[in-house]
């Protein structure tokens, strides 16, 4: 690696007041033709390009991004990483990602600030308790670390939670995945971009796709704001805008795009050293390294691409947060924003070939795609390079909506997305 980051490069650059660091990635003009083009320069798209170059020896590829890399949902999520999903297919997919997360900073030579601080999922009623215990057992059968904690153990692990039994949604227990945690979202995009660029991938920003050219059932290239780019393989990783790209190719997807909101507070001293999710009351909270509380809210129920959600959703989330953490009652919120998430009817993603040769979709991650970024990129790269899914993403094909073989994480109660 040309510009390997290390303690020595840090010292060396200190002598020039850190003004001479090299660019982490280039800003190339698009070539006329690529072996593959990835549409969407978020974490998943950049990871796909990185693994195509690294593991499948496809170096003549490009990532096209309509804005700037990591400016979409990669920069808008609450950075939670976990793999404690109920169904076998999901457990395999998300734990594959978690295993890559565990060595990612070293692999990329880029600190993604992966912090395995644990994730708690709270139970507030007897059905939650039964569901979460069932999920704990399912996780352990799949080799995923999971423990069930009672109320006192929850209180011990996270002392600021209000465990009084006379509140509206009392804490009856919860699950803990210790390997779960958070990572720095921007660093993930930047780390993958730097790694992909190093291997010759062209990262083309401010380049919006306007059309997909096909010859009957085969793709020939894409029309962009920077001209026509010829290619035989197109991987679409456009999150909330997946349906927009699909429409250009004359495809229909089982997706609905909705606003999902998050907010951060003013920065304070360390007060919560884990991630606590409460699926029944839809509130989750962690604390960033800057000290801000990072709070995730729910989705609006209507389709929208406006990147802003309803205030009543935020109000409902904050009501729940305040009841669970009375200590936050005088915190002020600093920022609030929305991202557009593409949700499948079964709340599981699509990493799949399509009926059009050379056109691949990686979409439907809904409200929980960040945690899967490395695994998603790895498996999508495999699917594009071999024109066949990897065994870990075979269940996440687009045809499951025809066969009925859904991966119904929506129905797997008490699983937050």
């Amino acid at each position: 690696m040309k510009n390997k980051y290390s303690i020595f490069s840090l010292i060396k650059n200190a002598f020039s007041h850190h003004e001479n660091w090299g660019m982490a990635w280039k800003d190339p003009a698009p070539k006329k033709e690529y072996d593959a083009v990835i549409i969407g320069g978020g974490g998943h798209g950049l990871a796909t390009a990185y693994y195509l170059a690294k593991k499948h020896d496809m170096k003549n590829i490009a990532v096209v991004e309509k804005g700037w890399i990591g400016g979409g949902n990669t920069g808008r999520n609450t950075t939670i990483i976990r793999s404690n999903y109920l169904w076998d297919a999901s457990a395999g997919l998300y734990d594959h990602a978690l295993k890559i997360w565990e060595g990612l900073s070293q692999e990329l030579n880029y600190n993604v600030m992966f912090s395995q601080r644990g994730v708690i999922n709270l139970a507030h009623n007897l059905q939650d308790v039964r569901d979460l215990k069932r999920r704990t057992h399912a996780n352990r059968l799949n080799g995923i670390d999971a423990v069930y904690l009672n109320t006192q153990e929850i209180k011990k692990f996270c002392p600021i939670i209000n465990t009084s039994q006379d509140i509206r949604y009392p804490v009856l227990g919860g699950t803990l995945q210790r390997r779960a945690g958070t990572a720095r979202h921007d660093a993930v995009a930047w780390g993958y971009a730097r790694g992909a660029d190093e291997m010759g991938v062209d990262i083309i920003q401010n380049c919006e796709v306007k059309g997909i050219k096909r010859n009957e059932d085969t793709v020939e290239g894409i029309e962009t704001t920077k001209g026509f780019i010829k290619t035989k393989k197109i991987g679409v990783v456009a999150a909330g805008h997946s349906s927009v790209i699909a429409n250009m190719a004359g495809l229909r997807l089982p997706l609905e795009s909705k606003p999902l909101q998050a907010l951060v507070s003013e920065p304070v001293k360390p007060v919560i050293d884990t991630v606590v999710m409460s699926n029944a009351v839809h509130a989750y909270v962690s604390q960033s390294d800057k000290g801000e509380l990072v709070i995730g809210a729910g989705t609006d129920d209507y389709i929208s691409y406006s990147q802003k959600g309803s205030h009543d959703i935020v109000e409902g989330t904050l009501n729940a947060i305040l009841e669970l953490y009375p200590i936050f009652s005088r915190m002020r919120m600093l920022r609030q924003w929305g991202g557009i998430v593409d949700i499948c009817p079964d709340a599981s993603p699509i990493i799949s070939k399509t009926s059009i040769k050379g056109l691949y979709f990686n979409c439907g991650w809904g409200t929980g795609g960040f945690k899967a970024t490395p695994g998603s990129g790895d498996l999508f790269a495999h699917t594009i390079a071999n024109d066949e899914p990897h065994k870990l993403n075979a269940a996440f094909n687009i045809n499951r909506f025809v066969s009925g073989d859904l991966v119904d994480e929506h129905g797997a109660a008490a699983v937050a997305h």
């Binding site: 349906s243 089982p254 691409y305 406006s306 009543d312 009817p345 025809v402 066969s403």
Partner: protein, 91 residues
Amino acid sequence: MFVINCPYCGEREQSEFKAGGEAHIIRPKQPTELSDDEWAEYLFMRKNIKGVQFERWNHAHGCRKWFNVVRDTSNDAIKAVYKMGEKPPTY
């Protein structure tokens, strides 16, 4: 967050309503004769338009009636509201 003009109750906050998704999806006349592909198309595949969309809404915390809305999903601006069974306006 926006205001919807319910054709029965007048202008109310969006939070009083439940979104019902894409409108004018026609229920199959002969469900027993549908292929798996046709079922998938009817049940799951959606236009998910960025731009002017025809959709159904229910005034869940009001009159509880269903009606149709024409809304631009890129900025949430409502173009028209019309009752169930009425001819959709052209956009």
